[in-house]
Symmetry: C3
Subunit: 267 residues, 3 copies
């Protein structure tokens, strides 16, 4: 069998022992696993940030890879623990919707993780990453069939996604993710914006510099471009647009009709 | 032989080349090692933080794993470099007590690392992580017997642990660790606190919301619960208790007798 | 063939999905690769920081290792993508000079990465780390000969290195790197400073405490010592010299003749 790949995504931060404890549990049970850190700097309890992070990261991983995601404000409550097969990849995460923005082709197969024989014993009330998700991921890496973890279910939490609206007089959306550069990623797919678009309103600011890439403008300029995942993005060249504009997730974005040469339908 | 697992825990931070240099030395000498980052965000020179970090992280790793820990304000002075076998795991670290809170069953076997033939040559005065600990860890990963590193010793530095006192009228302890969520972890084992406990004094603040897990209270509430390592913890639900209360390590914690239905002895 | 080692150095930060996306691309194409994080906390767009980081980190890695470095303010412009063989190691990075401070013995073999059949398709304008560098690194890990990536070139960007001047009356240099401890690393090789040196001017401050290592002075003292890479360094013992002095890269450093017992030539 190939080397099992297990990735870790958490909001645990860098100075806490929680990531290390999970790695210990994983390696004690599957010493030959390749552990891959995706991020441990998801903002604390920020399920939405995690969801957009995963949307852009997970599609690149190969089938068979195992992904443990622990951003889990509901740990120890009645929220379920999920195992999902998503286009051949395994996800293990709390049932709070964080996986539901990940693009996929095949219908997901979702299970409640209920088979306690694969968990640590005892299970704490505050750290299911270590006590449930890590040992179950190790069990899968050791070739346990997924159906041993628990029953398939038909319902799970989803995240509300703010709509991108292509209206008669405007395209209206919002910022859904701010990256570490302070780039503001919107929910407006680049392909719905006509090439003739000349300006964009972000909060109270007007942007009129549409470029292909950062280096097409001067340092300090605010630019509008297509993000690496295909959405409209507002950036400050060699700077931090979020800090400069004091804007973040939820900031309104609007492209007026008179700034457009016509609006294409959403594909 | 199984793939050797070498973990790294340092206070080197993220933007410095020091962690990378250690990884280079390790992989140059043992290319098949699995390197595992535990943390490089231990606060600078904070041996106590490192000690509690390791206390909660190291027990989960399997025998045979090799753990390099470099939080080393005394580098280049007369402080010794240690190799420790702790329940079958290898630790390499400066002799400043950082490993001494790790629970273990068998008596530790402690060596001074003195055999310079396994070090880099020359050895700098300021970076033994790269020049001594990393090459010795690689040598162990390459199956060097531990006794080649140097002589067993009977004395080593230990860390003073603040006492948790179960008194006639109160349980008295203190905060010993603050995690990245701002949760305040105390030195009071949860099992010495009776289920009837109703309130807790932390610094000048009174806490009276005892819960099983974070989600049992509302966002913004201050709660008292059992940490994932079994100690009393004070948290703000979906918030940062350390920042809100402006408290950190050393903050006094007290459960008064009249808040108790009787005090059990420390186990 | 041995396990291929692929290292990653970026300015992408911890909460963005970009590092994770690169790891996905690498592991989808070469699942058996050992991925090694060097840093993802290079300050944004700071090619100079990256260059000094690599100068001190890369020499420790073994021949055959593959190093992807993405600090790339010029992404998507006409700047070239490079593959370099440097003493048997592979580097993949934008042509902005970031690799040019790495010490090496053999002349580097530098290629433009032009063979699009090894890239993702399509290639975004803003994320060549994912779309060009990662898949090419995976191809090399899968034993693709380097000459398949593109033609050897004779010109590439270099970084201007501030001179260290050994003058008749003084040694004059500057701070070139600030590490996470706030230690100020200069461009003055320790071996050009006579043992008799008694004081050093850093900005407007005079330093007169020359030591071998941090622990030779008291906490809070400002000291001058030899960095682990062999250059003069100014540090605050158990503190942060950069913050205390409010100085950083580019700060002038000067050792006056009257503080010297004579000045040796630069070796």
């Amino acid at each position: 069998m190939a080397v099992p790949i297990i990735t870790l995504t958490t909001d645990f931060g860098g100075a806490s022992p929680y990531v290390a404890a999970m790695k210990g549990v994983l390696l004690a049970r599957c010493p030959e696993a390749t552990l891959v850190d995706l991020s441990h700097a998801i903002p604390a309890q920020d399920v939405v940030h995690a969801a957009y992070f995963l949307r852009d990261a997970l599609p690149w991983f190969p089938p068979g890879s195992i992904h443990v995601v622990v951003v889990d404000p509901g740990v120890g409550t009645s929220r379920a623990a999920l195992h999902i097969i998503l286009d051949g990849k395994h996800m293990l995460c709390p049932d709070n919707g964080l996986w539901t923005l990940i693009p996929h082709v095949a219908p997901p197969v979702v299970r409640y993780i209920t088979a306690a024989e694969y968990w640590l014993n005892p299970v704490s009330a505050t750290f299911h990453g270590r006590d449930i998700f890590a040992p179950c991921a190790a069990a899968l890496a050791n070739a346990l069939p997924a159906d041993a973890l628990g029953p398939v279910v038909a319902d799970w939490c989803t995240l509300p996604v703010p709509p991108c609206q292509v209206q008669a007089d405007a395209i209206v959306g919002e910022v859904v993710f701010v990256d570490d550069f302070g780039n503001l990623i919107t929910n407006i797919p680049a392909q719905v914006v006509p090439a003739e678009a000349k300006s964009l309103r972000l909060g109270k600011a007007m942007m009129s510099r549409f470029v292909k890439t950062y280096g097409d403008a001067e340092a300090g300029e605010l630019v509008v471009l297509t993000s690496s995942s295909g959405y409209l993005e507002i950036a400050e060249v060699n700077g931090n647009a979020a800090r400069r504009l004091d804007l973040g997730r939820g900031a309104a974005v609007r492209i007026e009709r008179d700034a457009l040469g016509g609006i294409k339908g959403v594909e």
